[in-house]
């Protein structure tokens, strides 16, 4: 009896231990703490001046003191990223559908698609500023442009690689072209589209911030540039911290939502 109890206890402990190490949130927190500790250690050991590398403590203080300013600029950047994502995803899906449905059109659209990726965003950023102004519009377009290629290619590949058996089955059920697209091709392309969206969510903030760097009057990128010029490196780090936190949160929320929507792909 005793032996069995001991065995039970050890297995339970084993399971509990296993669960603890696996939990992703705890793991993330632990990694963050470790990085902050390392950072603090480097600052202390090498005695960096605050205008080269501020301590995490100083950055946190700045984060708390200047939270109203930081949140205002975060809100601007959030709008740019979210609107850019919506615009880029819509355009990508639309382009992919056009290429699928109108085969001859593909030859005309493909160069545009490749050009959109081949020209560095930094190079067209000034032109976009010129045309769309220093407001939010030029950053939205920038974010949309940077995600356009991965979204379109993923979506197009997904739509094209529907298992032929599915299409055959739909044909024997007298499905029209539109019905096949709506009920077979599109849902079958969702996993591929999801990987496109995952890439887009990570890359879109880059587009928005690059846009803000080139010319803007608000946003986290603008704030970082201003802080840098005034040697307020702690504020720059605070903005950077928020940007990183925002991007990571956005990714995990998107990932969770996609996994729930595409429950059959696990």
């Amino acid at each position: 009896m005793l032996e069995i109890n001991v065995l039970d206890a050890t297995t339970e402990a084993h399971i509990a231990k296993k669960k603890k190490t696996i939990h992703p949130l705890l793991q993330g927190l632990l990694t963050a703490c470790l990085l902050f500790g390392l950072w603090q250690l480097i600052v202390v050991v090498f005695a960096f001046p605050p205008f080269i590398l501020p301590s995490p403590h100083a950055v946190m203080m700045k984060l708390i003191l200047r939270i109203d300013v930081l949140l205002f600029h975060t809100w601007i950047t959030t709008q740019e990223i979210v609107l850019g994502l919506i615009l880029g995803l819509t355009m990508g899906l639309f382009f992919a559908l056009q290429m699928l449905l109108f085969e001859p059109l593909k030859r005309w659209l493909l160069p545009i698609l490749i050009a959109s990726q081949a020209i560095p965003v930094f190079a067209i950023a000034p032109i976009l500023m010129l045309w769309l102004g220093y407001g939010i519009a030029s950053k939205v377009v920038m974010a949309a442009l940077i995600i356009f290629f991965p979204v379109t290619t993923c979506c197009y590949d997904g739509l094209r690689s529907t298992p032929s058996g599915y299409i055959d089955l739909a044909k024997t059920m007298s499905a029209s072209k539109w019905q096949t697209l709506r009920h077979i091709r599109l849902p079958a392309a969702l996993p591929a589209l999801a990987s496109g969206i995952r890439v887009a969510v990570v890359v879109a903030p880059i587009g928005a911030v690059v846009g803000e760097w080139v010319g803007s009057s608000a946003g986290l990128g603008y704030l970082m540039l201003q802080a840098n010029a005034r040697m307020m490196i702690d504020e720059m780090f605070a903005a950077l911290f928020i940007l990183a936190l925002f991007s990571i949160t956005l990714y995990f929320i998107t990932d969770r939502l996609l996994k729930r929507a595409i429950h059959w792909q696990l």
């Binding site: 055959d168 429950h263 059959w264």
Partner: protein, 263 residues
């Protein structure tokens, strides 16, 4: 041998649903057809089984009947059909893969055909679907998704979906070949029972399967392939395995083997 003839005559007495005469099937850019001198009668409410080595064109023939032939294939010959409307509007197709949509649950997969054409899923149809799912023994899995089911269960859903289409002609392309022996046996029995009043064309490379289920067997031999009739055992499908089936199976395999050597 008398019993065999009786079985053959039995199947002959049923009215013919589709008759193919002197038909040939081949690629447009090739002189040599895949199938030639095709003569075949598909009797109403009977199981017709087609056997042959892989690459003999049996799947191509089935795809022709299903209206799934590619544009680069050419069909010649006579085809008489007592079905109203075009042939491919009267078929339900069951393939080797279950072809269940992973994003739909069992119920929605069974009702898939109602998403297409001009069909509308009524309450009565839904009840019928529920009943069919019960008949294939999956009443507890109605709201499960395909990735939660075993291979045999998935093929049962495919069977229910095929029955839900309620078409007079059911085309089956090796539907049980990916299953293990026991599951295959069970599904053969289930299909034979549930598809009793349908005309079925069953493509298979398993002689035993053909001998258990078919009312009429055609062998595809030679190159280009030609159809040969083969006697079926006595009794109603699904037949239990006995000495007679074993004997016929041996003969069947010998004929198919000669064909393999010949090519």
């Amino acid at each position: 041998m008398k019993t065999h003839n009786l079985a053959v005559t039995l199947s002959m007495t049923n009215p013919v649903l589709i008759e193919l005469k002197n038909a040939s099937l081949g690629y447009k850019d090739s002189q040599q057809p895949i199938l030639s001198d095709l003569n075949m009668r598909i009797s109403k409410q009977r199981w017709t089984s087609i056997l042959g080595r892989s690459g003999c064109g049996k799947t191509t023939l089935l795809r022709f009947l299903a209206g799934l032939l590619n544009d680069d294939l050419d069909w010649q010959g006579d085809m008489k059909s007592s079905l109203s409307g075009q042939l491919h509007q009267n078929v339900a197709y069951m393939a080797q893969q279950d072809l269940l949509m992973p994003w739909l649950n069992v119920m929605d997969n069974v009702c898939l055909s109602f998403k297409f054409g001009n069909l509308i899923l009524s309450e009565k149809d839904k009840q019928k679907a529920v009943q069919l799912i019960d008949q294939v023994g999956l009443s507890n899995q109605r709201h499960h998704f395909p990735n939660q089911l075993s291979g045999g269960m998935r093929q049962r859903v495919a069977l229910a979906r095929t029955l839900m289409q309620n078409k007079p002609l059911v085309l089956m392309d090796e539907p049980f070949s990916a299953l293990d022996a026991v599951t295959r046996y069970q599904l053969q029995n289930l299909s034979a029972t549930l598809l009793q009043d349908k005309t079925v064309v069953l493509i298979t490379h398993d002689p035993q399967e053909a001998l258990r289920l078919a009312d009429h067997i055609y062998l595809m031999l030679g190159s280009p392939s030609q159809t040969h009739s083969f006697p079926v055992p006595y009794g109603h499908a699904p037949r239990s395995l006995n000495g007679e089936i074993a004997e016929l199976q041996q003969k069947l395999i010998e004929q198919l083997e000669r064909d393999h050597v010949g090519n």
